[in-house]
């Protein structure tokens, strides 16, 4: 992912043809020049009717693959649930005398597990009224809130050809900064919240900016530096949490902060019945911002140019090191947003050093599933939020460990990343004979080269 690597690889093996060719997949792939779309195989095909074309897009396009990937992953999850279910194991002991028993046991185990998942994530059909029925949906949105910001941070870095594994550190530092403002300062109502959020975003940006600066100034690989910064942030925040006068709650010996002041807490978005807070609005604004940044702004254009081909970007007059620093600053700010909403919205009663809750790493999968596009990240984050919300209900009511959700999530991303595999399984047509390509990708290529 370093500049060298790209430069070196550029000439060596430029693939002529890669299975997935639509624009979405190209975004997911870190370096678009590897997918080799510069061949300009655009052959206008006047005979292809609109419906024909639409049908082709449905079967060859990315969403058919996505649905197939979800189906495959859920099937694999079912196998795991069935294999470890006691009733199934018992019934399979006499499988050959009464196979129907085994099948029934499999059905009931898998069915009730997924029903619980649905009940916990989307719609509680056991609730008495509508308000109770949509509570799971609200839970999912609550879980999705930090994933949106964090996913955007990782996705933005991906688009610029940088791999930001430092989500954990950036979130921790941001949580510390936002939390310190949140419980330690006395400010008027709205201002307090805004200052706390700004402090978190700034802290995240600075932490990621260190990695960007090191890469720009010395060429240090961002994979190493962000991992190291994760550990440094963790121990730094742990120390602050254990030191009275910094983050530790007065009169306590636990490494935990005092609760946030009421003026700094993000208000509930849909009233006190649901735990969705205004952090979701901040996250949605962040989605719009990143979309605008990447697709409409000059800065975002340089980000994408550097991501697709740093050598070309440099020739075109873009200051690559400077862009690297800017990318990391913005990415860190987005992760900082996630960290700040964690302490100001989700856990307002004081936090400890596990406040990041693995979101910094989940964000990588979210960004991959969302194919590094802002809208994609939004939906991926909501899906993963739903899995998290449903998974805990499934664990509580059906005794299926919540890790099954992690397995299904990762399989979805894995299958989505390998469209040829999914196409082969579902006998979807392989792309290649598609006559027309979207002209957008061509013009983009020209812009980059210009």
């Amino acid at each position: 992912m370093s500049e060298d690597r790209q430069l070196g690889g550029d000439e060596v093996a430029r693939p002529q043809h890669v299975g997935e060719e639509d624009a979405g997949a190209r975004q997911a792939v870190l370096q678009a020049d590897r997918t080799g779309d510069a061949e300009g195989r655009v052959v206008p095909d006047p005979d292809a009717g609109r419906w024909h074309d639409a049908l082709r897009r449905v079967t060859q396009g990315s969403w058919a693959v996505s649905v197939g990937a979800v189906v495959l992953a859920v099937l694999a999850g079912s196998v795991l649930i069935a294999v470890t279910d006691e009733a199934v194991q018992e019934a399979s002991g006499y499988f050959f005398s009464r196979p129907s028993d085994t099948l029934a046991a499999v059905g009931s185990a898998v069915g009730s597990a997924y029903a619980a998942l649905f009940r916990g994530a989307v719609w509680n059909f056991q609730a008495d009224d509508l308000a109770g029925a949509i509570r799971p949906l609200m839970n999912s949105l609550n879980f999705a809130t930090p994933l949106i910001g964090a996913g955007l941070g990782v996705a933005l870095a991906f688009r610029a050809g940088l791999f930001n594994i430092g989500g954990r550190g950036q979130m921790l530092v941001a949580a510390a900064a936002a939390g310190w403002v949140g419980f330690g300062m006395e400010l008027p109502v709205v201002l307090h919240l805004l200052v706390a959020m700004a402090a978190g975003i700034a802290a995240g940006a600075v932490w990621a900016g260190i990695a960007g600066l090191l890469k720009a100034a010395t060429g240090a690989h961002e994979v190493i530096t962000t991992i190291m910064l994760n550990y440094i942030a963790f121990y730094l925040v742990s120390w602050m949490l254990a030191t009275p006068g910094l983050l530790q709650a007065p009169g306590s010996s636990n490494p935990k902060t005092p609760p946030m002041q009421d003026t700094a807490v993000l208000p509930d978005l849909f009233g006190p019945r649901y735990n969705v807070h205004w952090g979701l609005v901040f996250a949605l604004v962040a989605v719009a911002f990143v979309w605008w940044l990447l697709n409409r702004s000059r800065l975002g254009f340089t980000f994408r140019a550097v991501g697709e081909n740093p050598a070309a970007a440099r020739v075109a007059g873009i200051d690559v090191p400077r862009t690297t620093v800017s990318v990391m600053l913005v990415a860190g700010g987005l992760l900082g947003l996630a960290g700040a909403t964690q302490v100001l919205g989700t856990v307002t009663t004081g936090f400890s050093s596990d406040i990041d809750a693995g979101i910094g790493f989940d964000a990588i999968t979210v960004a991959l599933l969302g194919r590094s596009s802002p809208i994609g990240v939004l939906f991926a984050a909501i899906l993963f939020g739903a899995f998290k919300a449903g998974g805990s209900v499934m664990q509580a009511s059906e005794n299926v460990p919540i890790e099954i959700v992690v397995v299904v999530q990762s399989l979805i991303v894995l299958f989505i990343a390998a469209p040829p595999l999914v196409r082969a399984v579902f006998r979807l047509p392989q792309p290649g004979e598609r006559p027309a390509r979207k002209p957008r990708s061509r013009s983009k290529q020209k812009e980059v080269a210009a």
């Binding site: 370093s2 299975g19 060429g219 190291m228 894995l414």
Partner: protein, 431 residues
């Protein structure tokens, strides 16, 4: 900060970059800054008293006397040596020569001694030197095997982010197998198989289906974490006695070698896996640089098209490299459940795979340097125990943080821009 002398060429940009000779002032600069910081620490926070180094270990035939020295004096002497090394680095810059890898390594050791002497000054407890070194070597084992596997994979052109997953699945497989068979060797073999299994999946997606290698690696890690945690809760916890209680490898003393003062007990009264590491590092080096297999593997990683042209099967070479690498990483995974502790726990590798990845890049994709980097990380993880033993003057969190700060400095300054194999991360599509 970098003076580059480029030989202009009419060929493409990437052609130019391959012929650039870089004389970097960064290393010298970082050495100077770190030396100055250490001197500042000693000036601002002097500590009275002696530091005691225990040279012997229990059961030594030839026992060296323990050493007690005034801590500050030792620390200042070390800083002086460090200053000399920094001066050497500056001289090399003036002579436009690249700094040898040894200078930063010696520098690191000298500063470590300086720091330990400062921290341990005046403490009634002594530093057991053998135990410090031995513990570091032991703790570096999984990182070392992970890094070796990473080096092999990347040299063949496949970025392996899934080292973490290979270690974890290896630990998991070793725990179950060793518990069922009561044999740690069977556990070790199972770990090797598990590592290869992950490598096979990685290969299937990245080599056959040409999916982005970073994506697959990250996702495989998550998948393995999910699978092992799921089976841990569902299967291992209810049957802990039968499935999750291993016999560990006992430490074996090598005759004669283990009697060497100081180093003997540290290096040669260790677990079998440590000896395996001693053998594997030079073996991997030899295989990569001195055999036909290694030459082909590196060719595939640098210029697959050229390799293909001369008749090397690129995809097959990559698969083989990945599988061998996976097996090696698997050995590191076995460390967790048949050497370190005797049962599997959720996510017990705790990011060691990523540290191994850092060691690969830190070691510039070279097995020997990657092994040294892994050793450095082993020292780092061991440092905290040692300092808490003597009652260090600094909060423990900063002690724990130190290795990562040092790595950050090292990556930024001492190593400089690392250059990956040219075709690293690029799928090969035959035309």
């Amino acid at each position: 900060m970098t003076t580059a002398t480029a030989t202009p060429s009419s060929a493409s940009v990437s052609e130019d970059l391959r012929h650039v000779t870089v004389v970097s002032r960064k290393s010298a600069l970082v050495l100077t800054v770190v030396t100055a910081l250490m001197a500042l620490l000693l000036l601002l926070s002097p500590r009275e008293g002696d530091v005691q180094y225990r040279m012997g270990a229990e059961g030594d035939a030839l026992r060296l006397p323990d050493v007690a020295l005034p801590g500050m004096t030792v620390a200042w002497v070390c800083v002086a040596i460090a200053a000399v090394l920094a001066a050497v680095a500056w001289l090399q810059v003036r002579a436009e020569r690249t700094l040898s890898f040894a200078v930063p390594m010696v520098f690191a050791v000298v500063l470590l001694v300086a720091f330990l002497s400062w921290a341990g000054a005046g403490s009634p407890q002594d530093f057991p030197v053998s135990r410090i070194i031995g513990g570091a070597v032991l703790l570096s084992v999984p990182i070392l095997f992970g890094a070796l596997g990473g080096v092999i994979g990347e040299r063949a052109g496949v970025v392996n982010i899934a080292i973490e997953g290979q270690l974890l699945l290896g630990a998991f497989a070793a725990a179950i197998t060793a518990s069922l068979t009561d044999s740690p060797i069977a556990g070790l073999l199972a770990a090797v198989t598990a590592g290869m299994l992950v490598a096979l999946v990685l290969g299937l997606f990245t080599i056959t289906y040409k999916v982005d290698q970073v994506i697959v690696g990250v996702v495989l890690n998550v998948l393995v974490i999910g699978l092992t945690s799921f089976f841990y809760s569902e299967v291992l916890v209810p049957n802990a006695e039968r499935l999750n209680e291993t016999d560990r490898f006992a430490p074996v003393a090598i005759p004669l070698l283990s009697e060497i003062p100081v180093l003997g007990p540290a290096l040669f009264r260790q677990s079998v896996l440590v000896y395996l590491a001693y053998v594997t590092v030079p073996a991997v080096w030899f295989a990569l640089y001195r055999t036909r297999w290694g030459l082909r593997l590196r060719a595939v990683g640098e210029h697959p098209k050229a390799a293909d042209t001369v008749g090397i099967k690129v995809l097959r070479t990559r698969y083989r490299a990945l599988l061998i690498a996976g097996g090696i990483v698997g050995v590191g995974g076995a460390f967790y459940t048949v050497v370190s502790v005797s049962s599997f726990g959720k996510e017990m590798t705790a990011g060691a795979g990523f540290i191994a990845l850092a060691a690969v890049i830190f070691g510039k994709w070279d097995p020997l340097r990657a092994a040294l980097a892994a050793l450095l990380f082993g020292f780092a993880s061991n440092l905290d125990d040692m300092l808490s033993l003597v009652g260090a003057p600094v909060p423990s969190q900063f002690m724990l943080m130190l290795p990562y700060v040092v790595t950050l400095f090292a990556v930024a300054g001492l190593v400089g821009k690392s250059r990956a194999p040219a075709a690293d991360g690029v799928p090969y599509i035959k035309e």
